[in-house]
Assembly symmetry: C2
Homo-oligomer: 351 residues x 2
Amino acid sequence: MQKKVSIKDIAKHLGVSTALVSYVLNNKEKEARVGPEMAERIRATAKEMNYQPNMIARSLQSGKTRTIGLIVADISNPFFSNIARVIEDEASLNNYTVIFGSSDENAEKSDSLINALIKRQVDALIIAPAEHTEEQLKLLRQQKFPFVLIDRYFNTLDANGVRINNFLASYKAVQHLAKQGYKKICMVAYQTRLPHMQDRKQGFFKAMEELKLPLHEFSLMESSYERIQEDVAAIMQRLLDNKKDRPDSFLFATNSLAINGLKEINKRKLSVPDDLGIISFDESDAFDFFYCPLTYINQSTERIGKEAVRILMNQLEEKPGKTSTDSDTTQLVIDAQLIPRESCGEKKKKR
Amino acid sequence: MQKKVSIKDIAKHLGVSTALVSYVLNNKEKEARVGPEMAERIRATAKEMNYQPNMIARSLQSGKTRTIGLIVADISNPFFSNIARVIEDEASLNNYTVIFGSSDENAEKSDSLINALIKRQVDALIIAPAEHTEEQLKLLRQQKFPFVLIDRYFNTLDANGVRINNFLASYKAVQHLAKQGYKKICMVAYQTRLPHMQDRKQGFFKAMEELKLPLHEFSLMESSYERIQEDVAAIMQRLLDNKKDRPDSFLFATNSLAINGLKEINKRKLSVPDDLGIISFDESDAFDFFYCPLTYINQSTERIGKEAVRILMNQLEEKPGKTSTDSDTTQLVIDAQLIPRESCGEKKKKR
DNA sequence: TTTGGTTGTTTAAACGTTTAAGCTATCTTC
DNA sequence: GAAGATAGCTTAAACGTTTAAACAACCAAA
């Protein structure tokens, strides 16, 4: 690669000091009392030589990189890639760029990712934390490193965060199913201690209880993250092939769970919403194209991304008259919408 | 944020020079003849003080950031986010990280994105180039900046690239449709001069010609990128609502086109594959859940991502005995697979 | 005892910026 | 015409690394 032109090159070319060039190119000519014709010449040669400032050098000197690190479970999951896109746009509006990494829901990978990004001096992190990463995050917090959690959170960790009201979302979903006449609801969730997932489960149980719907052994089924395909297939096989006593509806806790579940339902030629009612968390193009469009719980990736960046910017771009401190914490809980469509229409009376 | 600990801090803490610390932490104790017990003490305090090297400083000194810039049309498009994930993993294996940006198929945005990433001193770029970005890329090439094009390419630009054989893919798709009895095929493509898209169109026309299938005014329909939803809706409305003379099948040039097209088809209660045969480029979860699973042309995002990184690494990590030069160029054309499913099954004889 | 080698460590420059402080003319003002 | 202000520029240090070169102390061989 060709050597890039630096401020030094411009200075040498004009026979002046680098300071002068720097002042002009940073539009500080007034404060630095640079002569107007000199300023013009500098600007001209900078353009002529196609000068591009070296942000690395600038960062070293300023201690700021104007870079945000984004850590999600998997950037190829539409939920996260949508958020990534929103974050990219918002960051760009504030002259920040984004480095990303996928943790695969793995605490060790998360740890090395966080370290790699910090070594690269990102100014802040946006993290959808994996299970067992509490300690890593506590350390970050202790070091007063700025970050925002998205999607998930921890009870024992007081940190910035943006998430939906998971409990209520599940709760409403069950109510909706019940109103349509479904009684034997099965929730398919991830097997994890992450509170956002626990909330979804608890919202489910709370609604079941209040509605006086009896629980079954299949009421809550759990899949691992790593072997989701096999696990969900096994669950569905066990439940659906038991003609005697099977659920009449499913509440899927994420889009990936739903997609894997639906594939199994399809294989068995069961008809939705007659044989089975379905609701899922998250969005997916797939939900629109299922023969019977899925009722889903919409988490606004737009809002999650925007608010996460907003919270960070508030913290990073400390205004002179700021009142907040590093230890203050913002937690935003967004209300998720249930989007009713056809996958749990009025249940037939027959069963 | 708490001040980070530097090599200087460790040196001061031990009363030695920074050089010594640097040698040890870079495992150059042998070459630098550092005493073994000193080395141990340095390592110990480094761990104790939780030292994290400042990559920015290291980059400034070395001129390398071990960072790859990724520019795609839209990171939230599954095709690109899948590629992004593969690139992330491959990069990580080589100790690189990835910064990304979305060009929105817009040349100006692409330009400012390229500049922003270069200012940040990325070592290389992986780009899915937008229309009219040829000149920007020629400039890059001229400056011998390392980059690989993915998905798209330019005829007049000799650069590294990884893409599928678009012409042949289209060609085979038409053959497949014809074999199933479809004759009045409509290709829905993007209105762009990008050669990969032109190739898809030309493959279509070539096959039509060889099969002696007559062309209609609807044979090739084009949508803009910016207003895809409106454009595709208008196209489908015009074609489908004309009962007299309408296509009997569609070849969609991308997943987004297909998804928008299918929504319109659904609205009109037309049945696939009886009333209409369908093939689309790219993958999508949605294709699996369309009531009649879509036949599609699979571009292996896995291979595209991996090969792109491999080509870059070959160029960046110049081995001592290297034979290739900066001006050498690798172009990889991957064979795309047609995955036959139900959306263009044996066409009924009735029409 | 000198010469030379080895070992362990320090010095200092460099990477490309930014910016406070310093310097030198020239211009006001009385 | 002396004092002070102002305009226009330069010097130099700093950010956190890396690394060639220098240095000092010791040891071995002649």
